[in-house]
Symmetry: C2
Subunit: 466 residues, 2 copies
């Protein structure tokens, strides 16, 4: 065990918290969406929370932690779903919430500290020049931009701009390395991939430069369809309407909208599947014409609704908020992340609906992926056993629908199931002692891990962390 007292002394002047209740709270994220992760990670807790107020303090923290061999796990707002921000080996939780300034706004771009909440960033860029982030997760009201880049993938706006992985959706990152003398590095172009979606395993992001899009007064609309596949076809066609500017298109299969969207329930019919749309005001007319022709029933329009009090924005019915609302009503629900590849995506959705029915209620987020509109599935799953969950995953994969498994806390198992050489190489450079967010990169922890063996990786440190 490292000498925490000495470490604390080294950090004099920087905000430190070791109240166990608070440390426990800041050691957790939304991992409990997954019954698997809940079993594995529920006991995980760090030793202390350190809250730097600027990059200089980040450098001091990393230098001190490096000197004492203490693990450091960065944390934005802790809204990740895979335990990304949980300190599997204990040590320092590096809370970036106080580094929350927007530092520059220009046409098409914003520079900010990593801890700023995305809704706050958007409010500033909107007030400044009618701009907003291209993409945000449905947690925009609570999550940090740095956490989004390091741990998220896409969300609201992906129907227009694709995902965070796409070239151009992050412009520049500034990071601090975990070494005796931490360095600051500026990453752009293909180098961004080194730390984007790397869970903070190979550098602490201290500044982001993100592209902006125009901020419109997006209109929330819910469109009802008696038939699920009609809703899917409509959503797909809407996403392919080049002249209709939307920021969000999602479909949720009946009866989930009625059963789980409690605040909107009065607008919904239980037997109707729902398409969730955010449309630009100047595209509303065209959208209504299109929807009429496609025989969608407009069941809710925020611009004409009598009373919006208590109603969340439409995007908080979408992405993982769909799961959240379902979970609140029925705690046995969890979810999956499915890709339905172009051009057979509609057939594949129909096939999975046919095979799995109400055990896996449909939820699709339409996004641009390599230039084409496809649905990314975030289906709800009525959880029974981990074995059955694995079986459901296998059924998807056998039908040609790759799964990004949200029941795994490692980068590889949640993603491409193979070593990311770029991220691994950069970890060797930027965190040679393996102290940043230990246990999340299998390639580092166990280079010989066999992904085909279908065994889950278990980080040895997980035991020690308890």
């Amino acid at each position: 065990m490292a000498d925490l007292a000495k470490l604390k002394a080294d950090l004099a002047g920087i905000a430190i918290e070791d109240n166990p209740a608070i440390v426990k709270q800041k050691s957790r994220d939304f991992f409990w969406y997954s019954p698997v992760l809940k079993r594995q990670l529920d006991h995980v807790v760090g030793d202390l929370v350190v809250t730097p107020k600027d990059e200089a303090e980040v450098i001091r923290v990393l230098a001190a932690a490096h000197a004492h061999g203490v693990a450091v796990t960065p944390r934005g707002a802790g809204t990740g779903n895979y335990g990304q921000a949980m300190p599997l080996a204990g040590g320092i939780v590096l809370n970036l919430a106080e580094m929350n300034k927007v530092t520059a706004i220009a046409p098409g771009r914003v520079v900010a500290e990593p801890g700023v909440i995305m809704a706050k960033l958007d409010a500033e860029t909107r007030a400044h020049s009618g701009q907003e982030l291209r993409l945000h997760p449905s947690t925009a009201n609570t999550a940090s931009v740095g956490g989004f880049v390091a741990g998220g993938s896409g969300g609201v706006g992906s129907i227009r701009w694709g995902g965070l992985r796409d070239l151009g959706n992050v412009i520049r990152l500034r990071i601090v390395t975990m070494e005796a003398s931490p360095r600051t590095l500026e990453l752009s172009r293909f180098d961004l991939h080194k730390v984007s979606h790397a869970y903070g395993t190979n550098g602490i992001i201290t500044e982001v430069e993100m592209p902006l899009a125009p901020a419109y007064d997006w209109v929330d609309v819910l469109v009802g369809f008696d038939d699920w596949m009609d809703a899917v076809r409509y959503a797909d066609a809407l996403g392919n309407e080049d002249g209709i500017l939307t920021k969000e298109i999602a479909t949720v299969a009946a009866p989930a909208p009625f059963d789980y969207f409690l605040r909107h329930q009065k607008f919904l019919k239980r037997e109707q599947s729902v398409v969730i749309v955010m449309v630009a005001p100047h595209s509303l007319d065209a959208f209504l014409a299109f929807t009429g022709r496609e025989k969608g029933e407009i069941v809710f329009r925020a611009d004409t609704a009598q009373d919006l009090k208590g109603l969340p924005p439409a995007f908080e019915l979408a992405w993982n908020h769909t799961t959240l609302r379902a979970l609140r009503v029925d705690p046995s629900i969890t979810y999956l992340q499915v890709m339905y590849p172009f051009p057979d995506h509609q057939k594949k959705v129909a096939r999975m609906t046919e095979l799995l029915g109400d055990e896996v209620p449909g939820h699709l987020e339409f996004v641009r992926f390599d230039g084409k509109v496809i649905p990314m599935g975030l289906p709800m799953v009525r959880f029974s056993t981990e074995e059955r969950l694995d079986e459901i995953i296998r059924i998807h994969e056998e039908e040609g629908c790759p799964i990004f498994n949200p029941h795994r806390y490692t980068l590889e198992e949640g993603g491409m199931k193979q070593t990311d050489d770029v991220q691994l190489a950069f970890k060797r450079e930027a965190d040679p002692d393996g102290l940043l967010n230990p246990g999340k990169m299998i390639a580092w922890e166990d280079p010989n891990f066999d992904y085909r063996a279908k065994k889950t990786f278990l980080f040895p440190g997980l035991q020690a962390a308890g």
Copy 2:
């Protein structure tokens, strides 16, 4: 022959021009790009040019012309390529150039009179709120927005927003009908189709409401490739990069860029095909990374070029400006308009290149079409005879590449080769005497015309108009 003297008396107070030289000039457009139309239309001339300054004057002109049975052919700036604005039956050329005010600008939309030049409109919306038209033809510096809606199809911006035909790319049109008592009508949603791209045959547009997009300081870039199909693949892939914001992507096959883009010649290599790109400044970094990876050679960048004096903007190398520049060097050149349908578009381009070689030098404009990126071809054609031109068209069609024939002055022959029932029905309503732009809508002039007979429609009035 109508009594023009009486007609003129009825128009007292409205600007009228009957100087033959000016009337002749205002009776012509860019029809001469086509050797076929040049032969057919060269003698066409109206009787007088009337220039209303507001909608009230338009109403007076139409009422008087209707009373006297005189044809009226609207004219924006007369930059159309198919003789759209040419008065085949003589009569009045209704010059809308003086109705050129921008009347309202709001987030995402602009309201304007039809005669405003698009570059001027863009300058106003840019100064007002950093906005600009989603789409403009490469003639933005000379053409009117009303003429674009009534006679154009798409252009710069279509890689992002599709074409004018797409729902949402025109919001609202106000028109005046050709009746004893002309009515004003507001058209929106699917009704827009009644007069969009109808060549002014069924109503005079007196106001347009168009959607706006953010105006960035687009960077002009030319990318060189030693191989034509490498250029095509690169351009296609760039169009499918969801995070890289471009406004224009076109490819022109070697040696045309070097031979015809004289002002840019010093940057070009004769053996290289060129990709013409307009990219947003905040996407430039990602664009350069992408281009480097794809082994494109950046031969010109407007943001770093030493001296831009005398260089036209990149979009004036694209669309029909490519043809224009070729024509200026080699007057024997004309062009075609080809669609290469998704998903076999690349194969089809390669096939046509193989079949037609240097007789039909490649020029592709990448656009979004029904949600997918495809190349629309505007290939140059080394003209020999009309028979050979028809043969080249047939070869395209046999290979599954539909042609929109720019050597025809009628809506149908230049377009879908069938009656547009909506536009025809609306002409019955709005122009019952058939006085608006006579000779352009076959469905009206000759309902029994047989498109399969492959004979060109000849408007009887064409003789009389001489």
